[in-house]
Amino acid sequence: MKVFPAQIWRNKESLYSLIAGKCNKCENLFFPYREVCNKCGSTSISKVKLSGRGTLISYTMSYQNRPGFEKTTPEYIGLIRLDEGIEIVAPLTDVTGEIKDNSRVEAVIRRLKADSSNGLIEYGIKFRLVEDENR
């Protein structure tokens, strides 16, 4: 068994819904959520659900993998500036054509890995390109 339910359940707010922390004292916004502000040390932190939308600053095609992730290799990995101002590195998905600089992206849930063909599955967030954001 490589997928452990407690680990996945504990991280559900990072992996499924992009919950960030906002410091009530210095207004520092950070992801993933933690109970202490890493700028001012305050423990007065609010949970903020990020929009999941952002701009792709840069990307790379990664040919390296880890056990359990072979099926998604090679994979585009993006440097994304979320609309709330946080920069994260995360996998891209559903890329079919050319990727342009400053493309808009949105978070979607995708399968990350599984214990076996009929074992436990681990899900998480990936980002896909948004062609027409106003549609």
């Binding site: 680990q7 996945i8 991280n11 990072s14 992996l15 992801f31 993933p32 600053i57 840069s58 990307y59 790379t60 095609m61 990664s62 040919y63 390296q64 993998n65 880890r66 056990p67 359990g68 992730f69 072979e70 998604t72 990995i77 440097l79 994260i88 590195v89 995360a90 996998p91 990350l112 890995k113 681990e122 998480g124 967030i125 990936k126």
Partner: protein
């Protein structure tokens, strides 16, 4: 005020030792050391739980060496060596401990790349990056792309680092990849994470090294002292290394003659050198004018995980003692910069021959 001296240092060649376990490697390294009985043993190691399925490692190694006093393992990922040096330095500086055997050891050569990536990915945040299946290489690739865009350089610029490192490493008998390379080999090497190629990365391998630190109550043959140690941490950043900048700020006026820096990727070398004052976007054009990584660096000497910082300290000591068997640096002041793979945890150590 107590001075912290380096009494002696030893190392084994960074390599793949399929016939030896982690404890065997330490025994081989320590056996070459001109040693005295230390008051404490500090061990730098990052990945033993995963690589050799062992914890309680400092106790086991100390027991193997016939030592029963204070011992502790320092783990801070690939910056474990720097963290262990700082710990040992503070202990002797405090006056409570007079001598410390500092050991760096790692066993990473047994595994295929995929599993090695699984081990090193433990450096990423468990809440997101690790669980998402990321590896460290795309982070370095993204740094490279941003650097190329910002400073208007192409891939050609980065080839300078592996060419120089392999030239130096070819003279170092302790180097893992002890051969020179040409530009075509670098340019045509396997793409790891576009534009990062194989020769922009450093080979993970096995290694063990030992450095004996003492207070100035001891009288070593050559007097090399540690002038100071400084450290800092930061978030991952694409165009800078704030942790290195902060840690180095203490040494800005030190004017080191030579240095050993943590070049886990060519881009890291560029960013570290630029945080030390070299012109941004041009640092790798200036390698002829600075004495950097005469060991061959992580690129050619090899990258033994958490032992790396202790290797760097041993190499800098050997340079100052005049015993380094490879390319010799000139001068009396050296600097070691030990970081993790992405430069978010940095330790700067200043050494001087007196």
């Amino acid at each position: 005020m107590t001075e912290v001296l380096i009494y002696d240092a030893s190392m084994i060649k960074v390599d793949r030792y399929y016939d030896k376990n982690l404890v065997d490697l330490v025994a081989e390294s320590v056996s070459k050391l001109n040693s005295i009985k230390p008051d404490a043993i500090i061990l730098a190691n990052a990945y033993s739980e995963t690589t050799v399925n062992q914890v309680l490692l400092a106790s086991k190694i100390s027991n193997m060496l016939g030592f029963s006093g204070f011992t502790s393992r320092i783990e801070n990922g690939d910056a474990s060596g720097g963290a262990a040096i700082q710990t040992a330095y503070y202990m002797i500086k405090s006056g409570l401990v007079k001598s410390i055997l500092l050991i760096g050891v790692e066993k990473m050569g047994d595994f295929p790349t995929s599993y090695l990536n699984e081990i090193t990915a433990e450096n990423l945040d468990e809440k997101f990056g690790y669980r998402e299946g990321l590896t460290l290489q795309p982070f370095a690739a993204l740094q490279m792309k941003q650097y190329m865009k910002t400073y208007g350089v192409n891939y050609d610029y980065f080839t300078q680092w592996p060419l120089v490192m392999h030239k130096y490493g070819s003279e170092n008998p302790y180097a893992y990849l002890k051969f020179q390379v040409d530009k075509k080999t670098v340019e045509q090497s396997q793409i790891i994470s576009d534009p990062l190629r194989l020769f922009d990365t450093s080979p993970r391998a096995d290694g063990a090294t030992a450095v004996l630190l003492t207070s100035d109550e001891f009288k070593p043959e050559v007097k090399v002292k540690i002038e100071g140690v400084s450290s800092s941490i930061s978030e991952f950043s694409t165009l800078s290394m704030p942790a290195v900048k902060q840690a180095y700020s203490t040494f800005r006026e030190y004017k080191a003659d030579f240095m050993e820096i943590h070049d886990s990727y060519s881009i890291n070398a560029a960013l570290i050198l630029e945080e030390m004052g070299l012109e941004k976007g041009k640092s790798l054009n200036m390698l002829d004018s600075i004495q950097v990584n005469y060991s061959g660096g992580l690129k050619s000497r090899g990258y033994p995980g958490g032992a790396t910082g202790v290797y760097q300290l041993a190499e800098a000591f050997m340079q100052l003692a005049g015993t380094f068997p490879g390319k010799r640096a000139q001068g009396e002041k050296g600097l070691v910069i030990s970081t993790d793979d992405l430069g978010t945890s940095a330790y700067v150590i200043g050494l001087r021959r007196c």
